[in-house]
Amino acid sequence: MLRFVVTRLSLIVPTFIGMTLLAFFLVRLVPGDPIETMAGERGIDAARHEQLVKEYGFDRPVLVQYGIYIGRVLHGDLGKSIITQEPVISEFGALFPATVELAVCAILFALLVGIPAGIIAAVRRNSVFDHGVMATSLTGYSMPIFWWGLLLILLFSVQLGWTPVSGRLAVQYFIEPKTGFLLIDSLLSDDKGAFRSAVVHLILPAIVLGTNPLAVIARMTRSAMLEVLGEDYIRTARAKGLPPLRVVGVHALRNALIPVVTVIGLQVGVLFTGAILTETIFSWPGVGKWLIEAIQRRDYPVLQGGMLLLGAVVMLVNLLVDVAYGVINPRIRQSH
């Protein structure tokens, strides 16, 4: 087991180095002088220009610059935002919980709807329900979620007035950030109105972000379930006279969920991609919206650091999923 973990870890190092290279060259590949590019249309005077060249180390050889950059990254120093002058890592830390909260709710929504839908579709194969699930999931898989979000706003926020259009919390509430997760913080502060407000703000974004994973999970559950239901041990369980619910819900589901777990792991990257779009539509104050704003403001340190941090998070989650998978399924461990 230890060897398996070490092998997986050793695969991560070159990937991480590659990401730092990408982040490092990001600023240097932008055509023109990086300092002037960052200064934008306001322009910059010669003295300040000189000072910034020194500060960013642009006057030294590229290899030395990269060495310095790596050293800083390993010490958790990702530079400062040009706009706010805040360290990139602390801005990321402040916004990341909002993205995680949204992503967790989205994946929970996808699991709670997708797994039962997939199971029922498999058990009632070729029924109207089955065809409905397959058609819906193909549509969900093809859905441009930035449009889907606008449609839901149009229906539920504008026409019906059930949910707020954007943001994370109604303005009249203030919750002291303890964990950064508003659902937990508002519960801790015992403010029922704030909690309710946080929940209704979350519903639409979570549905939008959960749509793609939901489609994948429903399809995956259905096909895995169909495969397992054809196995001999299921026939044995049925022949023993076990109630169908127990055969499907316990005997079959356990094995059918193994590929589904892998798919959930693979959805992490999809979730972050979707979060960039979802946060933009709903003005959700998370890292996705922050990155898009960084591009619009030419805030390269933020883009550089944010990309590296998001990539690292995805990599770590994938590693955890792999290791967890090795724990569940010993065959994987030995094949490595």
Partner: protein, 299 residues
């Protein structure tokens, strides 16, 4: 002599590969619908100048945010209504089909060609070259796809061509991986050894021996790649990083329409619907191709 041999063979001829493919593709109803929709979109794109009732950039200051024809206040002149500066939405959607289909095809062609080249090199060279290429592809796969595309566009600057390049890079690893995997599987087979022994050079081995045998999975992946390309390019357009206004690209139209979501449902609804229809059609067709071309899944 030749006649004697050829006539019985011709009588018992099995269905040719193309016919066999078509028979199993046709059995999948969704795939056929997808194919028809794709053909219709292609036709629409080709005939845009003749089919579209108005020019895509023609504005009419007397008809701002006119609702679709069937709603009160709408007119038959603007079937799907007009946008905030009086442009006909239907015409822009038809012209947009040109853009979106070219984006889909262009991106995938770019990505497939580069992917095949890199995959062939990795599969034949092995050693350090292979490790370097495959590691690079792993990095590309690790980053969330849209994030990587955004970073590339941030480097190159926003615009349609740069967005296409970015999406092509994001899709690249799939083609490299498929090509390399098929190459590695094929190279050890007897027919390749035979070709090599009889003096075929590496290039000949690559392109006329091995590559045709990797074609099926590449075709399937390419047809599914078109839908991803359309979707991602539209997402970049929506974020203001892809095609720039006043281009009638569907994602860019949506971005333009965002601020009118509260007043004019039609400016937001139709461009997105077109994206969904196009993506869905290519996905349906791709699924059908996979079922028809992948012998492992054949019923």
């Amino acid at each position: 002599m030749a006649e004697v041999i050829s006539s019985p063979v011709a009588l018992a001829a099995p269905p040719g590969p193309l016919r066999e493919f078509w028979l199993s593709f046709r059995a999948n109803r969704g795939a056929v619908i997808g194919l028809w929709v794709v053909l219709a979109l292609l036709l629409l794109a080709l005939l845009a100048p003749w089919v579209a009732p108005h020019a895509p950039h023609e504005t009419n200051s007397a008809a701002f945010l006119r609702p679709p024809a069937w709603q009160a206040g709408g007119s038959i002149q603007y079937l799907l209504g007009t946008d905030a500066i009086g442009r006909d939405i239907l015409s822009r959607l038809i012209w947009g089909a040109r853009l979106s289909l070219s984006i889909g095809l262009g991106v995938v062609i770019l990505s497939v060609v580069a992917g095949i080249a890199l995959g062939l090199i990795a599969g034949f060279a092995r050693g350090m070259v292979e490790i370097a290429i495959m590691r690079l592809m792993d990095i590309v796969l690790t980053l969330p796809s849209l994030l990587l595309a955004i970073v590339i566009v941030a480097i190159l600057g926003p615009g349609l061509v740069n967005a296409m390049l970015a999406v092509a890079v994001v899709l690249l690893p799939h083609y490299v991986r498929i090509t390399r995997a098929s190459v590695v599987a094929e190279v050890s087979k007897d027919y390749v050894t035979a070709a090599r022994v009889s003096g075929a050079g590496t290039l000949r081995l690559m392109f006329s021996e091995v590559l045709p045998n990797c074609a099926a999975p590449l075709i399937v992946q390419a047809s599914l790649g078109i839908s991803t390309a359309i979707l991602d390019a539209a997402a970049l357009g929506f974020l203001g990083l892809g095609a720039q206004p006043p281009s009638p690209e569907w994602g860019t139209m949506l971005a333009d329409a965002r601020e009118f979501v509260l007043r004019a449902w039609w400016v937001v609804t139709f461009p997105g619907l077109m994206i969904l229809i196009a993506v869905l059609a290519f996905n349906l067709m791709g699924d059908g191709l996979r079922d028809a071309l992948d012998p492992k899944l054949k019923r």
